[in-house]
């Protein structure tokens, strides 16, 4: 992927993150009181709701992509060489995919798993 495309992705995910994080924060203490927001039954109902659950999943993907691409940009800015660039690019791609997969697993299990 070209660096210019990655930078455009960084800006698009930034705007998306601002919208989604604002909604997330408002739902975690302003619109819904904080003590209610962290209640087990309330969290479960958020995951089970199609709109709220999907929003959490998109928030996860957007924030992780933006965060690790940002870290990649910082690391490439600190040092320049072909091997460093290649290694940082691959490492960030692998770690991004792994963190996205782990977070997505939480969403899937919260929706489909049996409550204990």
């Amino acid at each position: 992927m070209k660096e210019s495309s990655l930078m455009l992705m960084q800006y698009v995910t930034a705007i998306a993150a601002i919208v989604l994080v604002t909604i997330h924060l408002l739902m975690q203490g302003v619109i819904v009181p904080y003590s209610t927001a962290i209640d087990f039954q309330q969290v479960l109902s958020v995951y089970k709701s199609w709109v709220d659950g999907a929003m959490l999943e998109v928030l996860l993907l957007v924030v992780v992509a933006h965060g690790f691409n940002g870290l990649r940009i910082i690391l490439l800015e600190l040092r320049q060489s072909a091997s460093w660039t290649r290694n940082v690019n691959w490492a960030s791609l692998i770690v991004t995919a792994a963190v996205m997969a782990y977070g997505t697993r939480t969403v899937i299990l919260a929706v489909t798993g049996a409550v204990t």
């Binding site: 800006y11 930034a14 705007i15 993150a17 601002i18 994080v21 924060l25 203490g29 302003v30 904080y34 962290i38 087990f40 969290v43 479960l44 995951y47 996860l60 924030v63 992780v64 965060g67 690790f68 940002g70 870290l71 910082i74 800015e77 600190l78 040092r79 963190v99 782990y102 977070g103 697993r105 939480t106 299990l109 919260a110 489909t112 798993g113 049996a114 409550v115 204990t116």
Partner: protein
């Protein structure tokens, strides 16, 4: 490239975490990176933390007891302080990030003109500076607001 110029370009981490004697924009650049790294660290912790809703790394579904234990471990003074600081850096990073996007697309630059004493960068005046100060002030307001909710 002269040795001096080369040295300036190779200051690495010390270069961007030491904005001393540079302008407000350079401080904003440093804080954008520090807040970005801090949030990435928090996001990793938060993804790990919320996974305890489904019993943690080896869980198989929503678990009341594991979630209760996780909440007992994180809902304390330290947890409240961390959340307050997170909201503060999120607001700064977000508003300063919007400034960076707008300036990247040339939307908040002044018209170019001849350099005049005291040679301050004209492109970085007015809206850009106001946005940096807005980011600082609103971050502090958001932190205070979060404090009133959590404590």
């Amino acid at each position: 490239m002269t040795a001096e110029k080369e040295a300036l370009n190779r200051r690495g981490l010390r270069g961007w975490i030491n904005p001393y004697h540079y302008g407000l924009e350079r401080w904003a650049y440093t804080f954008q990176r520090i807040t970005g790294l801090a949030m990435l660290l928090y996001v990793l912790g938060h993804i790990g933390d919320t996974s305890f809703f489904v019993g943690g790394p080896f869980g198989e579904g929503p678990s009341r007891s594991v979630w209760a234990a996780d909440m007992a471990a994180t809902q304390n003074l330290l947890g409240g302080i961390v959340l307050t600081l997170v909201v503060m850096v999120v607001v700064f990073h977000g508003i300063n990030g919007v400034r960076l996007i707008l300036s990247e697309y040339g939307l908040i630059f002044s018209k170019p003109s001849r350099p005049e004493y005291p040679y301050r960068a004209k492109s970085l005046r007015a809206v850009q500076r106001h946005m940096i100060w807005a980011a600082i002030v609103l971050a502090l307001v958001a932190a205070l607001w979060t404090g009133t909710i959590l404590f």
